[in-house]
Symmetry: C2
Subunit: 357 residues, 2 copies
């Protein structure tokens, strides 16, 4: 079969060499003559996987001393609750920037525990832009941001300047570009975009910021418990962590975040250039808020939908149907998606327009 | 390499044919020319996996109408919290049977939300027995039990007769023998013993029992939310669910729970018979409380430890080192462990004793 150009919004494309190793480990891991799936998580062989995964995160993101790296369960959705439990004081408050469905969900979960101040929202225009010029209340315990909004195709180009700690859900753009970890008290991210398969969630946490809320925190939500137990308070999601480790190793071997950031910029420039210059398409996000991960666009003439759909399907393109909240198309271009796949999509768009020229 | 006799306490042995299919799906799933790890969880292909896994649970355990089957994240440890949130009323109480480390942890998590009545405990004798003849308070919202205690090698032979609803953590013996689901308001189980690899947790919940606590339940802990979203409130742990589905299909194809229960009884009889009749070994759990899943035993003469260890290692036996809280040995014999592996262990024990006869 010919290659599929996989633009899935997540779980998303992973490198072929990662998948090959991941497949082999299911049969025979580390020449143990045992599957990775059937060994103890406390075995030397898996403990090494966990330690290597943590070390790769630290190296790739240049994580400063005083931060812990965890691989937990529950997705960013459980992270919404962990953020509030671990950083919002009893009778405290937290500031949230509402830039999309997931940002809004984060806020709603935290609202169960205390007062939420929504510093700004782009809900008025179906989350098609990242708000600017808002006040961050100095009295809030933290500011929560969602750095990339997969559904609406927007991305924060700059981290807000804030006197209060920042907590960031980076599920859909972590490892896609350089970040300065010291800007954050916590970063968390579901694995299933640029890190690995679904089933584990990365936390990068400033140790000294923990233990200050005065809350009775359930063990599974208490980041200090997980730090003390080195992500093994209970049985970790072994396989998702292993594949994440392989994928981070792939990123490192190829040149790290500096390398991938340049490629991601090339991919985004190629597709946005076509969207902007092709009269049959238009982008849905405001130009200065556009995501390099999830460009969203619509046809200018809906009557041509079936024809365009047939063309990209014929080109073996997969996963570009837009989310129902936006419609149209979303071409997710995570790290493992090669530039050539974007070129194939752009060629289809050009060909389509030529026909209707 | 020769076959490893894998007695790991969990994550534990899985059938070779399951591992083979699981490995292939990482490269090319359903002939999509895509890995299972890189497709959307909302794709037709994965939705079918989820539905099939749920249907297999219902069929294998003869789940009555009015119960929902969920595959969530967080392990039984997050289940401890879900049990209390979903079943313990505001200002209510819950009864707990304390039969081991995990039972005790379940109780501690629930104690954050309300009053806990410990109906009985075997902590006085290092959890080496299952308590009998205790009172279950009729005023409590539920009775929580842990049906098998992996660390201490004990197992509830009978479900208590109770006028209040029963919630059971069956992490380490679900699918090993017949159960009557109607006896429970909720059953939950981490996958990594008899169901599949680490990373997902099964919930079987009586729908009509939910929504009665009056609590403000965080979305990720609210079973009604997960039921409504059919285990896809957020991205599910795709691969652990898939491999669990394959493993449940393997169980069904071979004759289901009736079939495996007989084999598990044979394996237990074989090993316990040797433990009881071999003068160099003794069991650590009381006879009527012994687990068919995790027989625990010690040497009667500790000075012979190195010699015995060398012998079972030479026989390619893996994973029988006891938990530090009990010492000695623990030979976990989950569903996928063949009778022949138990025979190999028994032969080593006989051979060892012959030498010292």
């Amino acid at each position: 079969m010919s290659k599929v150009h996989n633009f899935s919004a997540g779980p998303c494309i992973l490198p072929q060499e990662v998948l090959k190793q991941a497949s082999e480990a299911v049969i025979n891991f580390n020449n143990l003559n045992l599957s990775l799936l059937e060994i103890s998580h406390r075995s030397k062989d898996f403990v090494e996987v966990m330690e290597k995964a943590q070390a790769l995160v630290k190296e790739l993101l240049d994580v400063p001393d005083g931060y812990s790296v965890l691989f937990l369960q529950g997705g960013a959705s459980l992270g919404f609750l962990k953020a509030a439990y671990n950083f919002m004081k009893e009778d405290g408050s937290a500031a949230y920037l509402n830039t999309g469905t997931w940002a809004n969900k984060a806020q709603k979960e935290a609202a169960r525990l205390g007062t939420i101040i929504e510093v700004a929202s782009s809900a008025d225009k179906n989350y098609s832009y990242i708000p600017k010029n808002y006040q961050i209340p100095g009295s809030a315990d933290y500011l929560h941001i969602t750095t990339n909004n997969t559904i609406f195709g927007t991305q924060l180009k700059n981290i807000p300047i804030s006197r209060i700690p920042i907590i960031a859900d980076m599920s859909s753009d972590i490892f896609s570009k350089k970040i300065n970890v010291a800007d954050f008290d916590m970063i968390y991210a579901g694995a299933q975009k640029n890190m690995g398969p679904a089933g584990t969630t990365l936390y990068i946490v400033k140790d000294s910021a923990l233990g200050k809320t005065g809350r009775n925190i359930p063990a599974m939500l208490d980041l200090q418990v997980h730090i003390k137990k080195e992500s093994m308070f209970n049985t970790p999601p072994v396989y998702p962590i292993y594949v994440s480790m392989l994928n981070l190793q792939w990123l490192k071997d190829n040149g790290g975040v500096d390398w991938i950031e340049k490629i991601n910029e090339q991919k985004a420039a190629l597709l946005y250039n076509e969207i902007d210059n092709n009269p049959l398409f238009k982008g849905t996000a405001e130009v200065d808020s556009r995501s390099n991960m999830n460009p969203t666009f619509v046809l200018t003439n809906d009557a041509l939908k079936d024809e365009f759909d047939a063309m990209w399907q014929a080109a073996n393109i997969s996963g570009i149907k837009g989310h129902r909240d936006v419609g149209g198309y979303r071409a997710s271009m995570y790290n493992a998606l090669p530039l050539e796949s974007v070129q194939v999509l752009v060629d289809v768009m050009k060909e389509f327009t030529k026909k209707h020229g």
